[in-house]
Amino acid sequence: MPYAMDHDLAEAWLRAAAAAVEQREEELTALDGAIGDGDHGSNLRRGFTAVTELLDGLEPGLPPGTLLTRAGSTLISKVGGAAGPLYGSALRAAGSALPEPTADLTDLAAGLRAGLSQVCKLGGAQVGDKTMVDAFEPAVAALERAAFDGFTLREASALAAEAAEAGARSTVPLVARKGRASYLGPRSAGHQDPGATSTALLFAALARVAG
C-alpha cells in the first residue's frame, strides 16, 4: 500500500488508466454517440495506448511529476478532439506542480487542483455544465478534504473515486452548456456525459492502484 505518489505509483496509475480505457472504450463511445460525435472511447484508447508505449520506453526512476507531464504531452499529441488537450494539459499542469522525488497526498491534491484549473481555463466550463469538470471538481475536492482530515492516500483515493463517480452520474439530468452535447440543447438531458465518465474511470484507476 503506497503512502505517496512516487514513480511506481504514477506509472501504475497511468497503466491502470490505460487498461480501464481500453476495457471501457465501447461504453465511452456509446455515451459520446448519444450526445456527441461517438469518438470519445476511441480517442482515449488511442491516447492511452501511446501513453503505455511511452512508459515502456522511459528510463527508470523518473519523478512522478515527469511521468504525468510526459503522459500529458503524449495525450495532446495523439488524442485530438476536446478531451486530448483538456486531459493532456491537466496532466501536464499536475505533473509540473508535483514535488520531486515523491508527492504526498497534499501535494497530489494540489497538483490535481492545478490540472483542473487548467481544464477550466482552457474550456471555460464550470460545475453543472455537463462536462468532465463535473467529475473532476468533486474528486479533487475530496482529495483536498481527505488531506486536510489526515486520511491516507489509499482512503483519499477511494473517496475521490466515489466523488468522481457521483459527479459523473450527476451529469445525467443536466442540459449541457459546453462541448458538443450543448448543441443538442434540452435533448442532452438524460444522458451521462462521456468526459465525466472517463474522469471517474481515471480516479477509479487511481483508487485501485493506491489500494
Binding site: T29, A30, G33, A34, I35, G36, D37, G38, D39, G41, S42, N43, R46, I76, S77, K78, V79, G80, G81, A82, A83, G84, P85, L86, S89, L122, G123, R177, K178, G179, R180, S182, Y183, L184, G185, R187
Partner: protein, 331 residues
C-alpha cells in the same frame, strides 16, 4: 456498419493514401498527416491553413490548391487534429509572411489549434485565427460553446484564400475570413444518421419517416425530430430559420451553398436547391453565386445544409477569383 474501409483503425491513413494517388498535384505527408500544395513554401505569401476531423471530405483536403488553402490537417474521423499536425503544416508552408488558421468552432478544434498557434507564436511566426461559427441551429451565448462551424468554412477558405493568393498580409487575410464568416449563416436537416467507423453503428436511430432538424456535421442528433415532409417544406423551414437570424433585406445579394451531407444524391440536392432558389426570390433576395453539391459532409449522413452568405463586391470578387483545388475549380 457497411463501409468501404479496411479497418476502423486505418481509415485516416488509408484515405490519405488514396488522396495522394488521386491527386498528384497535392503533397500528402501521411506520417505528419498534412496535405499541402506540391512545391515548398512560397516566400512572402501568407500560409492559409485549416483542418479538422476527417469525414467531411472534400473539406478540407479537397480545398488545398491555388486560390484556397496552402495546407490542411486532417484529424481522425470527427476528431480535431492534434497540435503537432498544425505545427508541421505551419513549418511546411511558412513563407515568412505569417499564417492564418481557419478553425471551425468546436471545443476540440479551438483548443488544438490554439495550442499550436501558441507554440508557433513563441517561435516568432505571426499567426492569426479565423473562427467559423455559422450554424444557426445552435444557441449563441457566452455561457455556451457557441455556434458550430459548418458550410461557411468553404466561403471563408475561398475568399481568404483568394486574398492570400494576391499577397495580402496575414491580418488582412484573417479580416476577410472573419468578415465572410460573419456574413454567413447555415442550417441543416438530416434524413439518416452518420456512422463513425470506430463506433460501428449510427450515431442515432432514426425511424423511416423521421428526420433530424438542425443537425451539425459530426453525426450528433439535431435540435429536434420531425416527420419527413416534402422537399418544398423542408426548404422553407431551412430558409426561414436562416433568414430569421440573418440581416438580409430585399435587394441584397447572397452566395448560396446547398450542400449534401455525404449520402444524398446530386439529383435530390438540385431538387432542393430549386425550392430554395424560388423561396429566396420570393423574399426579394438575389442569388449572386451558388454551389450545389457535396462540400462539407458528415460521413454517410443523408440530408442537406444551406449556407447563405451576404455578398458584397469584395466578397464576390474574391469568390470569383481563380481557384484550382480537387473540389473547387474555376478560372
Amino acid at each position: 456498419m457497411k463501409k468501404l474501409i479496411n479497418s476502423p483503425d486505418t481509415v485516416l491513413d488509408d484515405t490519405l493514401a488514396g488522396l495522394a494517388a488521386a491527386h498528384p498535384e497535392l503533397a500528402v505527408d501521411r506520417a505528419a498527416r498534412v496535405v499541402r500544395r506540391a512545391g515548398g513554401p512560397r516566400p512572402g505569401k501568407v500560409a492559409l491553413i485549416s483542418g479538422g476531423g476527417s469525414g467531411h471530405e472534400p473539406l478540407h483536403t479537397g480545398f488545398v490548391g491555388t486560390g484556397m488553402l496552402d495546407a490542411a490537417c486532417p484529424g481522425e474521423v470527427f476528431t480535431s487534429p492534434v497540435p503537432d499536425q498544425v505545427l508541421a503544416a505551419l513549418a511546411a508552408t511558412d513563407g515568412g509572411a505569417g499564417a492564418v488558421l481557419v478553425v471551425k468552432n468546436y471545443t476540440g478544434d479551438v483548443l488544438n489549434f490554439a495550442l499550436a498557434a501558441e507554440l508557433a507564436a513563441e517561435q516568432g511566426v505571426e499567426v492569426h485565427t479565423v473562427l467559423v461559427d455559422d450554424d444557426v441551429a445552435v444557441e449563441d451565448s457566452t455561457y455556451t460553446a457557441g455556434r458550430r462551424g459548418t458550410g461557411a468554412t468553404l466561403v471563408v477558405e475561398k475568399t481568404a484564400g483568394a486574398l492570400a493568393e494576391r499577397g495580402a498580409t496575414a491580418a488582412e487575410v484573417a479580416a476577410v475570413g472573419a468578415r465572410a464568416n460573419a456574413a454567413s449563416r447555415s442550417f441543416a436537416i438530416a434524413l439518416t444518421a452518420a456512422t463513425v467507423p470506430a463506433a460501428g453503428r449510427p450515431g442515432f436511430d432514426l425511424p423511416e419517416d423521421q428526420i433530424e432538424v438542425g443537425v451539425g456535421i459530426h453525426g450528433e442528433p439535431g435540435r429536434r425530430r420531425e416527420p419527413l415532409r416534402p422537399a418544398r417544406e423542408l426548404a422553407a423551414e431551412v430558409v426561414g430559420t436562416i433568414l430569421a437570424d440573418h440581416t438580409l433585406i430585399p435587394g441584397d445579394q447572397v452566395i448560396a451553398l446547398l450542400g449534401g451531407l455525404g449520402a444524398t444524391p446530386l439529383h435530390e440536392l438540385y431538387l432542393v436547391y430549386g425550392e430554395v432558389a424560388a423561396l429566396l426570390a420570393e423574399r426579394g433576395l438575389t442569388v449572386a453565386r451558388r454551389l450545389v453539391g457535396n462540400y462539407v459532409t458528415s460521413l454517410d449522413m443523408a440530408g442537406f445544409s444551406l449556407t447563405l452568405t451576404k455578398a458584397d463586391p469584395e466578397l464576390l470578387e474574391l469568390w470569383d477569383a481563380p481557384v484550382a483545388t480537387p473540389a473547387l475549380h474555376w478560372s
